[in-house]
Symmetry: C2
Subunit: 296 residues, 2 copies
């Protein structure tokens, strides 16, 4: 958890491979780095994606060239992540603009987000927050409801990020989103994803599914910012995504209290209004995703 | 918050009236006690119910008799609360027994609850937990998933109560219930209520509505333990229930972080499988409630 946020986890792992090969560029060292880094987090698929990309470049390379090529590839991934988030932000900004105009354009657009999917979770911009930053910079009034996101309170990271940009926001406990939506105080939800199946099911920080249910019940659009590095083309069924079970010490309870601490949940595609990717916005379905990514 | 739990708030307010009249039994003192105590909490209707009952007994009484009659009435309400919870527990126990047998009877019944509706929230037994205690004492294996219930973590009170009785339980963050239900790890939900409209809408601790949505999405029964003192016969529409907005200091954030702290939400009757009252189990509807309480 020194590094968190699915896109940042992927890029950091790529740099990790580069560091391992600087110390020892052998096949054994490469293999060990891929296995060790790959085992650090089970849910975010960006980690596997980044390591497979590194392996594809480095396995055929001569050991003497590997450290240099690994660093170059990791640096390229970092640059690409910035570009992906920037483009995702452009597509998402159009969604926000449309929602704001549809709501009359005479008051701030209220966006609810869960966890942190901003620049603290990526190389820059963020995923779910990139559209918010772009809209704010373009002069659109936007206010963000920030779920506190127990147990690690990543919502406070989101609040801190938003404060740096001067974006109005209000933090609430994770229990509050349903009330806000019933009161008509949320125009749309926008969250990130740690793994999106090719059928559009979304594993994201635990509690995301509950907000998606409330959004549907209140006819609030529920968007997921899904860079292609988060898409797992090998999976359709979200129930097959491994859910990280984290240390109960994170909960802060007396050790005598029985407790468990699962870190993610899966939101079915039927609750997702649309996915926002770096290539545009699509339906949360295999057909929608393949239209944007026909090469996969 | 020295006194919490809707039924206990009602009984404590009745004793409060008794104390005020011991100091000064005049009409003015009675009126001031009713107004002051009535303004302490807006959402739980048990408070209004208890104060109206005290007013009905005490207004016609001679001032010299008031202190004695007030104490006797408060003591009667305390006794009745124990009896109401005990009977509610009997009706609820039959629901749990039926669910357990329907699930095969070969593993513990998994009950999810939110907040604390046990004997810490009533005079004794509790409302939502009364059926659990009775089932456990009758030898039925039951395991309770306890929502931590941010921001005040009343779930830890529930865990403590359950531990005193030896009832197996596991605390989870409020975000986790959806995942548990999707995994099939919850057989039924059972929560309390601070105010139930005559149409069966339920104001309870914030986050209850999100669990009710997840229950419906996963075909998990969602029961509300609703003693008649929690029923507001004057209201049909839950949107008219005042939602207490509590001090943001409860959230524990840096004061610079913008935040709000609403304490309750409203679950529509359509998400409530049934209400459990001291007179039996009924549909969450005006017809269902009037069948059990025809005198209202």
């Amino acid at each position: 958890m020194r590094v968190r946020g699915a896109p940042l986890i992927g890029v950091a792992a790529a740099y990790g491979v580069s560091l391992a090969l600087r110390a020892d560029p052998s096949d054994a060292s490469l293999g060990a780095a891929l296995v060790t880094l790959g085992a650090t987090r089970p849910t975010a698929v960006n980690l596997r994606w980044a390591l497979e990309r590194m392996a594809g470049v480095l396995r055929p390379a001569a050991p003497a060239d590997r450290a240099g090529r690994a660093y170059a590839e990791a640096a390229a991934m970092a640059e690409e992540d910035v570009d992906v988030c920037r483009r995702l932000g452009e597509h998402g900004e159009r969604l926000l603009q449309g929602a704001w105009e549809a709501a009359g354009g005479d008051r701030p657009l209220n966006v609810l987000t869960h966890c942190n999917a901003g620049w603290l979770a990526t190389v820059d911009w963020g995923t779910a927050l990139a559209p918010v930053y772009r809209a704010h910079e373009a002069g659109m009034p936007v206010h963000v409801w920030v779920d506190e996101t127990r147990p690690r309170n990543q919502g406070l990271l989101t609040a801190w990020e938003l404060a740096q940009h001067g974006v109005p926001h209000t933090v609430v406990v994770d229990n509050a989103g349903g009330l806000l939506m019933r009161r008509g105080q949320v125009d749309l939800c926008l969250v990130g994803t740690d793994r999106t199946t090719r059928a559009g099911e979304v594993a994201n920080k635990i509690g995301t599914y509950l907000k998606a249910l409330a959004a549907r019940d209140n006819r609030v659009p529920f968007y997921v910012a899904a860079p292609s590095s988060s898409i797992d083309w090998t999976l359709a069924d979200g129930a097959a995504i491994p859910i990280e079970e984290r240390d109960r010490a994170e909960l802060g309870y007396d050790p005598a209290v029985p407790a468990i601490n699962p870190a993610f949940d899966v939101t079915p595609a039927s609750l997702v209004t649309a996915l926002v990717t770096e290539r545009g916005v699509c339906e949360a379905s295999e057909a929608g995703l393949r239209r944007l990514f026909p090469e996969e």
